[in-house]
Symmetry: C2
Subunit: 365 residues, 2 copies
């Protein structure tokens, strides 16, 4: 366990409650040994406890030996945001993982290059939507999906809240929608991927993913805040599935929306989602129904695309109250390596017309 300094995991924190120096010492102990520092053997104090690398005003950097995170993403999440998540006034502002550590992770199976190849779109943004609203029957959702597929959308997902409701049971819905999209693709010469929501019990999620694939789903939607980041990683790493994965931010919001506490938007929705295998990472776009600022959205995009060992770039996927007239603004803002997610707005007026307009606006620009 000898390492050079550049092989340590580095976490930047902003500490806005209490004395930053004292809180930083608490964090480096709390996130590792959780034990009175003075009672720990000297080698544990030096090697296992985190090390304060720098401290300026509220901004502190602590580094951790890779061994502390032994066990995979679950323990990495615990070191990053386990007990310290219970500290008011502490926010992770950045995270640097050494290449020797990143080599333990496959990351997204497809990411930006893989999905461009799979879908045959060398330059354009990914065009995505969800079928909804909850309450609609499987057949009606299927017809809706067929209309959208025929218009040339790349990804048609279940609304993430579609689980196993009485109005459209999971097994029936996934089969029916997959069939409709497959038929529409055949007729129209399109290539839409159907992405069912794996919002299912934990002991069903692997089987449900395989069942979805067996009936024709060609991608998967996962809720890592509900199902666990490592459940998503397991699906991403499954060679017998080998399907693109989109991550939904359900249940994760409190980690980012309180500006003095939590985790940087880019670290959570960019870095950690990539580590856990998300090819596409959904987040609420600025100016929609939610509260993210343009700067926070840009931070997510940056972390989706930033170098991360040999892990491929992922697709930032802004959504949440997006409208068709904002498409030019959004491609200006995010560039082309973006998965644009338009939902309810497609249904205001004629669905086929709106879907065709969106595809036209975003194709071969």
């Amino acid at each position: 366990m000898t390492e050079t300094a550049d092989e340590r995991i580095e976490v930047d924190y902003r500490i806005s409650a209490g004395d930053p120096g004292e809180v930083a010492h608490s964090i480096r102990v709390e996130q590792t040994i959780e034990f009175p520092f003075d009672l720990a053997p000297e080698w544990i104090q030096q090697q296992v406890v985190g090390r304060i690398e720098s401290s300026h005003d509220q901004q502190v950097t602590i580094s951790y030996d890779q061994g502390v995170t032994g066990g995979g993403i679950t323990q990495l999440l615990n070191v990053l945001w386990g007990n310290v998540s219970l500290f008011p006034g502490v926010r992770i502002t950045d995270l640097r993982l050494p290449d020797s550590y990143l080599a333990n992770f496959r990351g997204p199976r497809f990411g930006v290059p893989g999905l461009r190849e799979l879908l045959g779109i060398p330059n354009d943004p990914l065009i995505c939507t969800a079928v909804k609203p909850m309450g609609t029957s499987s057949q009606e959702l299927g017809k809706m999906a067929a209309t959208i597929a025929a218009a040339g959308f790349h990804i048609i997902k279940d609304d993430h809240g579609l689980a196993d409701q009485p109005w459209a049971r999971w097994t029936e819905r996934v089969r029916v929608i997959a069939e409709h999209i497959d038929e529409a693709n055949s007729k129209a010469g399109t290539n839409a991927l159907y992405m069912p929501s794996l919002n299912v019990p934990a002991d069903r999620i692997t089987d449900a993913a395989h069942e979805a694939k067996s009936v024709g789903a060609r991608a998967l939607l996962v809720l890592p805040g509900v199902s666990g980041f490592d459940a998503m990683r397991t699906l991403a790493d499954d060679d017998s599935l080998a399907l693109p994965i989109m991550a939904h931010p359900s249940f994760l919001g409190s980690n980012v929306v309180n500006s003095e506490q939590g985790i940087d938007h880019g670290v959570l929705f960019g870095t950690l989602m990539r580590l856990a295998g998300a090819d596409i990472s959904i987040f609420p776009n600025y100016g929609g129904r939610f509260s993210f600022s343009p700067e926070e959205c840009m931070r997510i995009k940056t972390k989706c695309h930033a170098p991360l060992g040999n892990i491929v770039a992922s697709w930032p996927s802004p959504g949440g109250g997006m409208t068709l007239d904002r498409l030019p603004e959004l491609t200006d803002f995010y560039g082309s390596d973006v998965a644009l997610l338009v939902g309810g707005a497609l249904h205001r007026g004629d669905l086929a017309t709106n879907a065709a307009a969106m595809v036209q606006a975003l194709t071969n620009r």
Copy 2:
């Protein structure tokens, strides 16, 4: 899908940002159909979308049809705190689940009555600790555990951050500690339960639980904020395991520590942990290393013990920087149905002496 009004799920929110009436309308739509309300069919507007039951100043109650949560705890979590977790200034202050809904959940297998019977302690608090610090070898952790077991502790858990570090690999550590505790129990006539941390990859967690049981572990520690609430429920419901489960709050803190945003302490660490099968729910005690107030801790205790259909009461487990001299205060505050978790403080001075003193202070009072 006809229901009487008292069979709906009711959620209380405090809305401190924006106009409460407008935000409440957004929530009832966002947490169900995520679709322009005016475009939804009338029956979906009435039955699927949440219903505002009352609204006074910032306090709003919204009820949901049980069908909306179809699919189990994962979708319940999504309805409660999926997209709305991304809203600043919204906090869930209470949750009422009808008995007809609760009948879908087993909850804790043991809870307060079951662990009292299993351990043969009709009246006293549960006495718990963790072996640590990280960096210690399996053999040394085993010896420490044996000393504590011989003193009469009820539960000896792995520190939750013990995963699969190079200093004590998971498989070796669990076997060695289990053996030491078993031997100490035999010699001393004690009955300590060893509880390894299931801080392991998602695709290993079920096998790891069974492996732990096969080598002598008699309880399990789970991190639902990392592994997912429903992964814990799966373990709790596994009749071939049938082991008590303690839940650790790792990664969940941001949901509670920001007073204007998030989820009520009692709802998260009491109600939701019980629904997901936690016999014991750890949280940071007031006056320790963390920030919870006495009122927030009392709220957790109340929700651990409150009526919840046929689901048994769970053990609130205050921990985090607790010291031996606080034991009388804590049993006064929490009563006897509490699992007291003392960690590092046991090691200041002689471990055997401290452990014996703690047992004596809490037994047959």
